[in-house]
Amino acid sequence: MSERGTRLRRLEPAAIGGVMSREVANFRTYWKGTTFSSVLEPIVYLLAFGLGLSATLVDEVHGIPYVQFVGTGMVATAVIFSSALPAMFGTFVKHRFQNTYDAILAAPVDVEELVSAEMLWIGLRASVYGCVPLLVTIAFGLDPAPGMLLVPLFCLATALGFAGFGVAMAATVAKIDQFNYVTALFVTPLFLVSGAFFPIDELPEGVQVVAQLNPLHQLVELVRGGAFGYEAVDILRFAGLAAFALVMWRVAVKRMSARLID
C-alpha cells in the first residue's frame, strides 16, 4: 500500500471539507434568492399570523405576546424547511439527475463521508437561516436575551436530524413526486404540532404525548427557553435532539450506501 493510501481513514476532515467546498461553490451561485426568501418569509408570517391574529383573536399565550410566541416558534419552521426539504430534493437531484455522487465517490471519499458532509452543510446553513425569524422577532419588539446565543446550536442539532431524514428519504423514494407523500405524512404534521403557532397543551392528551416525540416541538421549547428563560428539562430536550441527529445520520448513511454502492 502506498504511503498516501495508509493515511486514508474513516470520516476524514479533508474528504468532508472537500464535499462541503463543492456545496459552498454552488451556494455562491444561488445564495441571494435563498437568503431573500428566508428573511422575507418570517416577516410575512409575523405580519399575517402575529399582528393579524393578535389584533383580533389572540393577544398572548402563556403570558407571551402572540407576535413573540409565533416569532420564536417560527425558528423551528425555518429549520425544517431549510433542512428536510433541501436534503430530500437536493440529494435526489444530485444522485439521479446530475450524477454528482458518482463523480464524488470516484474520488477518495466514501459514502459515510459524503452523507456526513451533506448533512453538515445543510445543518450549518439551516442553523443560520433558523436564526433569522428570531432576529426578525427582535425587530418586532422581542427583547434580546443571553440565552438566545444557544439557539444556533439547537437549530444545528435539529437541522442535522432533519437533513439526515431528508437524505434517507431521497435514498428511499423511487420517483421525485413521491416526496409529496413524505411532505404530507411527515413534514407538514410535524410542523403543525410543533407548538409554533399554538400551544400543544390545549390538544388532546394522546396528541400531546406524540408531540413530545416531535423534534420540532423540542426545538420550539428550547428557543422559547432561550428567549424567556430555560428550565432544567431543557437539557433533556437538547439531548433528545442530539440523539435524533445521531440516529438519522446512521439511517442516512445506511440508506445511501444501499443506493450508491451496487
Partner: protein, 296 residues
C-alpha cells in the same frame, strides 16, 4: 507490478450476470482498450475498480490495493473520467477543478487547477460557468478534472460517446498525450476506431468476460487474417455469396447493407465474387466476428 489485476471477478444484478469470471491484467504504462458492445460489462468493471460496485466473487487489485476493502486508497491514486457529464454547471470552470483538487487532497490546489486548465486549454475560460462552455470544452474539462491530481492510473469510461468527430479528435489528442507520458490508462469503448487509435492493447469483452486480447495488429492477424472482401449486392445474391464462402470454410459477417468475407486471402477459386471490394482486415472484423454485434 500490474496496475490492475482481476481474477475470476463476478458481479450479478439479480438474475443478470454483468461480469462473469473476468480475468484482466493491465501492466503499468500501457493503454488498454476494453472493447465491447453495450451491456458487455465494461462500465460495471470500471465501477468495481472504484469500489462503487462490490464483487460477488473474485479478487481485485488496483495499484497494489486490495479492492473493495482498500478502494479509497486506490481511488486517491487513480483518476476517473465518466461516460456522463457530471460537472457542476452553474459553477465556474476553476471551481469545478478546485473542488476535485481538494477531494484528492492535492497540497497546492491553485497550481493543480492551473495545470488542469492548461491541459484542457481552458485558461481563458476559467471564470466562466460550465453552462457557458461548448460541448467539446465540457468534455475537455471533464477529462482535466479526472487528472487534476496527476493520477498513476486513469479509467476512461466511454470517453467520447455521443460526441461529434471534431470533439472526439480533440479528446484523442489529449489521451494520446497522457499515454505518451507513461500514464496507465484503462479505457472502455465501443468505438473500434477509438480503440485502434489509442490502445496499445485491446481486450474484447462480451457477456462479462474477456474473450480475446492482444495488440490490434495481433488480434487482426489471429482472428481475421490479412484481407476482407466486401460484397454489395441485392439480398438474394448476398445469401448465395455467403453460402459459397461458408462452404469454402470462410467466415462471413454482416457489414451494414453488405456482407464481409473475412480472411478472403485464403479463399479458393470462385469463393469470392470478382466484383467484391478487397481491403485489409480490420479490428472491426475481429469485433464483429467475436461478439456477433455490429460495430460503431
Amino acid at each position: 507490478m500490474a496496475a490492475i489485476e482481476l481474477r475470476g471477478v463476478v458481479k450479478r444484478f439479480g438474475p443478470i450476470t454483468a461480469v462473469d469470471g473476468l480475468d484482466l491484467d493491465v501492466p503499468e504504462g500501457i493503454c488498454l482498450g476494453l472493447l465491447g458492445p453495450n451491456g458487455a460489462g465494461k462500465s460495471t468493471t470500471m465501477r468495481l475498480l472504484t469500489g462503487q460496485a462490490l464483487p460477488d466473487a473474485g479478487e481485485l487489485r488496483a495499484l497494489g490495493h486490495e479492492l473493495p476493502g482498500d478502494a479509497k486508497a486506490a481511488r486517491a491514486e487513480m483518476g476517473v473520467v465518466p461516460q456522463l457529464d457530471n460537472l457542476d454547471v452553474d459553477v465556474t470552470v476553476e471551481d469545478n477543478l478546485a473542488v476535485f483538487a481538494r477531494l484528492y487532497r492535492v497540497p497546492d490546489v491553485g497550481a493543480a487547477v492551473d495545470r488542469a486548465l492548461d491541459l484542457a486549454r481552458l485558461r481563458e475560460r476559467r471564470r466562466d460557468a460550465v453552462d457557458e462552455l461548448s460541448g467539446g470544452m465540457r468534455r475537455r474539462l471533464l477529462l482535466a478534472r479526472g487528472l487534476v491530481h496527476e493520477p498513476r492510473l486513469i479509467l476512461l469510461d466511454e470517453p467520447t460517446v455521443g460526441l461529434d468527430p471534431q470533439i472526439r479528435t480533440q479528446l484523442w489528442t489529449l489521451i494520446d498525450d497522457l499515454r505518451s507520458h507513461g500514464t496507465t490508462i484503462l479505457m472502455s469503448t465501443h468505438y473500434i476506431e477509438e480503440a485502434e487509435r489509442l490502445a496499445d492493447e485491446v481486450a474484447v469483452m462480451t457477456h462479462g468476460k474477456v474473450i480475446s486480447r492482444g495488440r490490434p495488429a495481433e488480434l487482426i492477424a489471429e482472428h481475421a487474417g490479412r484481407e476482407t472482401a466486401e460484397i454489395y449486392a441485392p439480398p438474394e445474391r448476398l445469401a448465395e455469396a455467403r453460402a459459397i464462402a461458408e462452404t469454402d470454410g470462410l467466415r462471413v459477417r454482416p457489414a451494414g447493407p453488405a456482407i464481409a468475407i473475412v480472411g478472403s486471402e485464403r479463399a479458393g477459386n470462385g469463393a469470392v465474387p470478382e466484383d467484391a471490394v478487397r481491403r485489409a482486415a480490420s479490428l472491426e472484423d475481429v469485433f464483429v466476428l467475436l461478439t456477433g454485434e455490429e460495430a460503431e
